[in-house]
Symmetry: C2
Subunit: 109 residues, 2 copies
DNA sequence: TATACTTAGTTACATAAAGTAAGTTAATTT
DNA sequence: AAATTAACTTACTTTATGTAACTAAGTATA
């Protein structure tokens, strides 16, 4: 009636990584610290969900929020060590994508 | 106003892999071919969504559905070559989980 | 000085995705 | 004949995401 065999750490990891947008957010931050609006524009996520995700990721210790008290204030997000440790995951996805994904031509409606 | 820098193959790959349950389904099938009800019970997904996911994954060429015409009929799902190629992805997630995930004690409500 | 713009969000509401539970079909066991 | 199992599907509910407008504080523009 319930799961048995699956490693709970693995399952929790999937619960984080497998959430919509999380992969792309982390991928972006592997490039270096970025501002809210930059992430928003680059990956095409809505502000509402980006805000939600960044808070989750911060709570998970994957992302860190930095407030630079300049005028105007600058806020940047970057990866913690735990977050950086996800690099091989993203790389393996990239490799799989290179080897196996077809680019579908988008038909513009 | 829109994304620029992200590799479209990578993005499509993430759109598949990052869907809820997909990771766990593939992880299960890495163990070998399995029946619908086994996957359902093992990972705790609802039948409705499992049915949906398996169809998607089949369409993507990641999973293959096999009908064994015994009585009663037996249906099994397994990974294609493309699906098997996701093994390193799941392994890298497992490694990250081992290194960085804390097990939260579940408080039963 | 007033108006408009930018950043980093939040809020309210609409739509899409996932969960729940019951139903279906065909065959099998009791 | 009634109950059970497998592999789904259907109808309905709850949750997640998208959209758009709003806020606050500062900056630039007319």
């Amino acid at each position: 009636m319930a799961d048995q065999t699956i490693c709970p750490k693995f399952e929790s990891a999937l619960n984080i990584i497998n959430k919509r947008w999380t992969g792309l957010i982390i991928f972006q931050l592997l490039e270096g610290a970025q501002r809210f609006s930059t992430i928003e524009a680059t990956i095409g996520i809505s502000g509402r969900v980006l805000s939600e995700r960044l808070k989750d990721l911060e709570k998970q210790g994957i992302v860190k929020r930095h407030v630079y008290d300049e005028t105007p204030v600058r806020i940047e997000y970057d990866l913690t060590e735990k977050g950086m440790a996800l690099k091989p995951v993203l790389e393996s996805i990239q490799e799989w994508a290179d080897g196996w994904m077809e680019i579908e031509k988008q038909s513009f409606v």
